[in-house]
């Protein structure tokens, strides 16, 4: 680490604070060192205030106690190196000059080519392609709604790409509704609301994702309402997505809801099995991975609610295959996704093990806890003890106690015995595996 006043402070603070305090409050700070001044930049006001209250004095003291740095001045602000908040402050001001510089924010991966079509989304895709062909003319606004992770954002980006491809000097801007709100708030704070208006009203296509986040934000809704009207009047395209039908969004002004319905409203439904399989194959293809059919079907059958869930499962299988250098097989897939497929971490108790084991061997729980030593009882008892040792955190004395007050050496003996028998007797091994599966899945 290079020697500098801030690095010196870091070393000292790391020794004084708990790792948690250090990682939470000190690590996110960035330092700008110029001459004899050290400016600390906190990512937000909350961190700044906290650091100011809890650590600022100590940091100053660390500097002043050091001969080399004793004359250095220390200050603390909200901001970020290379990407300072001040830059964002003036973003809207810079943007409007002459023809505003619009960042499209489009994700290059989300195109029509990479969108997998099925019954559940074909209407939405057809409408989107029409809008892309004739922006501002066919359906305006285009309102795409549906549950989470079904491809609304993908379609929206695909339209944006197609508009740019057809007419590359178009200005297309995609943003999440939260970003619109944040930009507006910042513009208001910095008296730049006119620039903000000019910026958003001068685009050829405005794509706003998840407009349900406008709910209850009245000032943002009003601003958006005017932007919306201005764009529509100028025949500029508006595309919106939402997690539900516009009329069902509570906290949204009626006049907005009704305007959202002026163009075309299309739904995306959860994909059916064939589409889910096709999505997996397409995704795997896009990253040059070969996925056996049985693996695609296994994932598609088990992860049904949305595309993100499918992709998450596939990502996990691919990551495991890469990290362990094993080929993607059905066996690996089952192993990797086992935890995800479990509804929840089951709480395994000794009582539960006793109950399950008794049911499995068709004996009574009282038999398991009794002193009876004939094999038809003793063997299941030993299996249950071994399962208790393997599947719970109880100590051997605790396990012994739970089995009719037996000594921990009896439990130890049972565990050893079952471990041996699992190798020599297939039936015992099968029983153990079956019970273990019942208890953990």
């Amino acid at each position: 680490m290079l020697s500098s006043p801030w690095n010196y402070c870091l070393e000292r603070l790391e020794g004084e604070l708990t790792p948690q305090q250090f990682n939470t409050w000190i690590r996110p700070l960035q330092a700008e060192e110029q001459g004899t001044s050290v400016l600390l930049l906190a990512p937000n006001r909350f961190v700044k205030d906290w650091v100011h209250e809890q650590y600022f004095e100590r940091i100053s003291a660390i500097l002043s106690e050091n001969e080399t740095y004793s004359q250095f001045s220390l200050s603390l602000e909200v901001g970020c190196q290379n990407n300072p908040v001040q830059q964002e402050k003036t973003k809207t001001q810079v943007k409007h000059n002459k023809k505003a510089q619009h960042a499209s924010n489009l994700n290059p991966r989300f195109t029509f080519d990479s969108f997998v079509e099925g019954k559940s989304n074909q209407l939405a895709k057809a409408a989107s392609m029409q809008v892309a062909e004739n922006p501002g003319a066919s359906y305006n606004p285009l309102f795409i709604y549906g549950g989470v992770g079904l491809g609304k954002t993908h379609l929206m980006h695909a339209i944006g790409h197609a508009i740019l491809k057809n007419k590359n000097n178009s200005t297309v801007v995609y943003l999440h509704s939260e970003r619109f709100v944040a930009d507006m708030v910042r513009a208001l704070q910095h008296n730049a609301i006119n620039e903000f208006k000019r910026y958003y009203r001068s685009v050829d296509a405005l794509l706003i994702d998840d407009i349900q986040f406008f709910a209850k934000k009245e000032r943002s809704q009003e601003e958006f309402f005017h932007t919306f009207n201005a764009l529509l009047e100028g025949q500029h395209q508006i595309i919106l997505t939402c997690d539900r039908y516009p009329k069902e969004v509570s906290g949204l002004e009626e006049r907005l809801k009704s305007r959202f319905g002026w163009g075309l409203t299309v739904a995306i439904e959860p994909p059916e099995l064939e589409t889910r399989v096709a999505i997996i194959k397409s995704k795997a293809n896009s990253i040059n991975k070969d996925i056996p059919d049985e693996v695609s079907f296994f994932i598609a059958k088990r992860f049904r609610s949305n595309v993100r869930e499918l992709e998450g499962a596939l990502n996990r299988v691919i990551a495991s295959s890469n990290l362990t250098q094993k080929p993607i097989t059905l066996e690996l897939t089952k192993e990797v996704l086992r935890d995800l497929l479990l509804l929840q971490d089951k709480l395994i108790t000794i009582e539960n093990i006793q109950k399950t084991t008794a049911e499995y061997y068709k004996i009574r729980i009282t038999d398991l806890l009794s002193k009876r030593r004939n094999r038809s009882i003793a063997r299941p008892r030993q299996v249950a003890m071994k399962l208790s040792k393997d599947l719970t955190n109880h100590s051997l004395p605790e396990i012994g106690n739970a089995f009719g007050g037996r000594d921990h050496t009896t439990v130890l003996h049972a565990c050893r015995k079952i471990a041996e028998l699992r190798i020599t007797e297939a039936k015992i091994d099968e029983d153990y595996n079956n019970l273990s599966k019942i208890l953990t899945t």
């Binding site: 006001r45 939260e178 990502n315 921990h408």
Partner: protein
């Protein structure tokens, strides 16, 4: 109040600070997620990850290890322990997308709190837009996270998700020995095995005993033998 025994020196309570780095992490059956976390910390992988598991399986340790390693690689990182500070505000997550990566511990703590859920969702989106990783942990599997904000849940499911598996008894023995070593006292393999067999084997219980042994060996200036350990356990 407990009276100290005469002749026994009571050591000062220092509040031992564990070193939360990869070197002190026992991987056990969790090699894969450790490998991935290291690679994220070094800026080689940009994947976001959700790691879940029971209490005391090492989730917080792992996230802090990521912070340490990332800092060594000159990457800017923040660690946000949601369960640790009741005074935290959702505003705390603003602006963090300018850092190279963010670690958020115990996300189940904010389930059902709309402002927090939205703040985490927005942080997620902004980091993802910039291909910067977000590492999160929680006690529940991703499908069981009962967020009101479905968009947040679906994004977490989209990520790589790993179940941090509990350590085997053999791993627990190595962990006890390693932890004792960082506190400058010794637990023989025999004593560690005795503990794992005879007391509750979950990590919080075992680590709590370690604190007790640390104090006891200092106070009585004795090595940890099985009879000594037995006497200490009986005191509990």
């Amino acid at each position: 109040m407990n009276q100290p025994l005469s002749g026994v020196q009571i050591p000062l309570e220092f509040g031992f600070r564990e070193t939360a780095d990869f070197g002190h992490f026992i991987e056990g059956p969790n090699t894969e997620v450790c490998k991935l976390s290291r690679s994220i910390a070094l800026g080689e992988t940009f994947q976001s990850v959700y790691i879940w598991g029971q209490a005391a399986t090492g989730k917080s340790h792992l996230l802090q290890a990521v912070c340490n390693l990332a800092s060594q690689a000159d990457l800017k990182v923040a660690y946000i322990p949601l369960s640790q500070y009741a005074e935290l505000s959702p505003e705390m997550l603003e602006g963090l997308h300018h850092l190279h990566m963010v670690c958020v511990d115990d996300i189940d703590c904010i389930v059902g709190q709309p402002e927090w859920e939205q703040a985490l969702f927005h942080l997620y989106n902004r980091l993802r837009d910039q291909q910067r990783p977000l590492l999160m942990t929680g006690a529940k599997g991703p499908r069981d996270l009962a967020f009101q904000l479905q968009d947040l849940k679906s994004r977490i499911i989209w990520d790589l998700t790993y179940h941090l598996q509990p350590l085997s008894d053999t791993d627990k023995i190595s962990l006890l020995q390693k932890r004792a070593d960082t506190r400058s006292f010794e637990i023989s393999a025999e004593v560690a095995a005795y503990l794992v067999k005879n007391v509750r084997r979950d990590l919080p219980s075992l680590l709590a005993l370690l604190d007790k042994f640390d104090q006891a060996t200092l106070a009585e200036k004795r090595k940890l033998t099985i009879p000594f350990v037995k006497s200490l356990i009986q005191d509990i």
